[in-house]
């Protein structure tokens, strides 16, 4: 984890034995302890490499190839060049799904991160029964989304749901949350924020627990307030953890599917449909696997773009040794 690199000094590496000139030229080492270490290393990563090649590399390659075909599962793929991408430009629903995905990411990621950090700070300050709180906050992360969505379906039920019942005590006539084009997306976003807090909290908590106490002691001696300490020490030192949380949260937000599938089915009037949901619909409900592959490629490019931009802005996950 990024946070570990902040504080732990790297152990000194033993000097490598000098390589023979011939071996340096060919790039091969045929014998010696270095070669054995390399071979052992290769052997150890081989299962993971094989797994990644088979189950990630191959599907990605096939998916990229299928993006340029018309393929309906029933008949062999037919090369259509850029037709799928042209269709995508005309697809108003897919455009809407991109906007919805960006909106969902824009709200769930920063709010979720802020809340995750707040909860982590609260738990870090020696709160009583923090184990219970930590479990409670983390529970949505490990609970099946289907179960969570069913609970939220009841909460949002316009007739006898928890939310509208509470609002009725205040004299407010709550809307039909998931059936309204105005409220459906914010309702889904709220579920997304709530569900994601646990993992963000956990990463921040781990990072907070590894921060050097000496810095805070020195800052206290210099008379820095707790707020000043937070902004001048804690936040900068949490930068690698923040980068990690940001990237994983963004990827997760871009891939949100389950809650849409159960809560709204993309509706009403496509107001909650997301890119992954449209990809799923194209492939599994409309039998347009080639088109779905092209949509996946667009999602991949978008995600890659955002990740690179973030890396550029935040300076990557470099530690502060």
């Amino acid at each position: 984890m990024g946070a570990t690199t902040v504080v732990k000094a790297r152990p000194a590496r033993p000097p490598s034995p000098p390589e023979a000139p011939a071996a340096r030229r060919t790039g091969r080492v045929r014998s010696g302890p270095g070669s054995r270490r390399r071979r052992a290393g290769m052997l150890m990563v081989a299962p993971a490499l094989l797994h990644a090649s088979l189950w990630i590399g191959l599907p990605v390659m096939v998916s990229v190839a299928l993006a340029f075909t018309k393929y309906d599962v029933l008949t062999a793929p037919e090369f259509v060049g850029l037709a799928n991408f042209r269709d995508m430009l005309d697809d108003a629903v897919f455009r809407k799904s991109i906007v919805n995905t960006l909106l969902y990411t824009f709200f769930t990621v920063p709010f979720g991160m802020a809340l995750g950090l707040l909860v982590a700070l609260a738990l870090h300050t020696g709160l009583k029964a923090r184990g219970v709180f930590r479990t409670a906050v983390f529970l949505p992360q490990v609970t099946a989304t289907v179960a969570i969505a069913l609970v939220w379906l009841w909460i949002y039920n316009p007739g006898n749901g928890l939310l509208n019942t509470l609002l009725s005590f205040l004299g407010i006539d709550g809307p039909a949350w998931l059936s309204s084009t105005t409220w459906a997306l914010p309702s889904v976003i709220l579920v997304g924020i709530w569900q994601g807090i646990g993992m963000k909290m956990l990463i921040y908590l781990a990072a907070l627990q590894s921060l050097p106490k000496e810095l805070y002691e020195a800052a206290s001696v210099d008379g820095a307030s707790r707020v000043r300490q937070f902004f001048s020490i804690t936040l900068p030192l949490l930068k690698p953890a923040t980068f990690f949380v940001l990237i994983t949260s963004m990827i997760s937000a871009f891939q949100s599917f389950d809650q849409i599938y159960i809560l709204t089915d993309g509706g009403p009037a496509n107001s909650t449909t997301m890119m992954t949901y449209e990809i799923y619909k194209s492939a599994f409900r409309e039998f347009r696997v080639g088109y779905a592959s092209a949509q996946s490629l667009v999602l991949f490019v978008l995600l890659m773009g955002f990740t690179l931009v973030n890396k550029r802005i935040m300076g990557g996950s470099r530690g502060h040794n």
Partner: protein, 422 residues
């Protein structure tokens, strides 16, 4: 060509992708023969026979009888729902593990028959039982028989007789003008006059389209016909009801939960004959006190959507004779009656018209009496794609500012593009 590490890796990559693509495309084949003895282990994929009762009915009663007749056939059942049926079939086709016998909906036969994923059935099966005249139509593609009907699910209007009596309404609406007026009259004290939205919007709009004299596609399935004024008027009618306040899209209920007519929150609703069974279970007083009535929607003509579940055989079954035997068995009157009773559906065989079940379920009785006014969805090989587009394309017109004309035009454009890709 110079053989180096890069070129070898590139060749391996291209070869792998090509092999994978070739493997993916192995779904097409001609219809399988069903000669030989019925034996072997086969799989049945079914979106009906839900819950413990459905499972008991299928595995003990129906398949129990089948096992007695065909002791050398073992049937493994793969249960799913209509919501997940598409995914099951897609993944089955992609993985080369399509079940031997499949149950699917009305409208699904042309897409799968056109791609040769399901097997053609012998024509004599169409006359093996006394089918109602139009019941077999959704089982055909290009004039050939590909499936047999198990149950029908018609769409009718159910109303509260007590609400009608309260408002002094003596007869059910004969056209949309009357329906709108009656719905307005019945809308009072937080109750809506009409709930057309608690069934799937696609099927609801189709019923209104058919009642307005329209149709979805040309008989060869290659032309879109719903884009004319009749399709627009059908959608506009929903907007008018919402504008009047006598229908509310946000107040639709979920399948299985007590409907608005059952709870008294609506006086009329579009529904299926299954509501009779649901009401008997959830609000028996409504049935016992004769508070529920039903009628067939009408405008330019009376129309009832005929959905349902059909049973068909995979083209590439390893045990075609066993699969064929199961298809035939699931379409016998005994199997059909059990499934219809369990779901509250309509049996499409005249042999079953006089059964206690048909006489007792008034909505089934009404449906059987009006089968001549039944219309089915689908009719094009591009249906699987088009059916997914209907709800999300029409919904913005109902809940937003989009005009009915624009929504129908957009749907027409999408449907034409889908047909063009076939």
């Amino acid at each position: 060509m110079e053989l180096n590490r890069r070129s070898v890796l590139a060749a391996i990559g291209a070869g792998t992708a090509a092999a994978a693509l070739a493997g993916c495309g192995g779904g097409a084949s001609s219809a399988g023969s069903a000669d030989g003895p019925a034996e072997g282990e086969i799989t049945l994929l079914t979106p009906i026979y839900e819950g413990a009762n459905g499972k008991t009915l299928l595995e003990q009663k129906i398949l129990g009888g089948f096992r007695k007749k065909y002791p050398d056939v073992k049937v493994n059942v793969d249960y799913t729902t209509y919501a997940q049926l598409n995914e099951k079939i897609t993944t089955g086709l992609a993985g080369g593990l399509l079940p031997d016998v499949l149950m699917m909906g009305v409208g699904w036969i042309p897409p799968f028959a056109a791609k040769k994923a399901i097997a053609e059935l012998p024509e004599e099966l169409a006359t093996a039982h006394d089918y109602e005249k139009r019941v077999l139509e959704p089982s055909r593609y290009d004039g050939k028989l590909y499936a047999l009907p198990v149950v029908l699910d018609t769409r009718i209007v159910v109303y509260r007789k007590d609400h009608f009596a309260e408002a002094g309404i003596k007869k059910t609406p004969a056209n949309w003008a009357e329906l709108r007026a009656v719905a307005k009259q019945l809308t009072r004290n937080g109750r809506i006059g009409f709930d057309p939205f608690s069934i799937e919007l696609r099927q609801c709009w189709e019923t209104f389209l058919f009642a307005n004299g329209g149709q979805l596609f040309s008989s060869d399935g290659k032309k879109v016909l719903f884009t004319d004024s009749r399709g627009v008027e059908a959608l506009q009618f929903f907007k008018d009801l919402v504008k009047d306040g006598s229908a509310d899209y946000a107040r639709k209920t979920d399948i299985g939960t007590p409907s608005n007519v059952q709870t008294g929150k609506a006086s009329m609703m579009m529904t299926s004959s299954a509501l009779w069974v649901q009401a008997k279970d959830q609000n028996p007083d409504l049935v016992e006190d004769d508070k529920l009535g039903s009628f067939v929607l009408a405008n330019r003509r009376p129309a009832m959507l005929q959905g349902g579940t059909l049973v068909t055989q995979a083209a590439r079954s390893k045990h075609p004779a066993a699969a064929r035997a199961l298809v035939e068995y699931l379409a016998t009157p005994e199997s059909i009656l059990g499934a219809a009773e369990q779901r509250g559906s309509v049996p499409g065989l005249r042999d079953l018209d006089d059964t206690g079940y048909v006489k007792e379920n008034q909505f089934v009785d009404l449906s059987l009496q009006n089968l001549q006014h039944a219309f089915s969805e689908g009719g094009t090989a591009a249906w699987m794609e088009i059916r997914e587009k209907i709800k999300p394309t029409l919904e913005p017109a109902i809940v937003g500012d989009q005009s009915a004309k624009d929504a129908i035009a957009e749907l027409g454009r999408l449907a034409e593009a889908a047909i063009g890709r076939m």
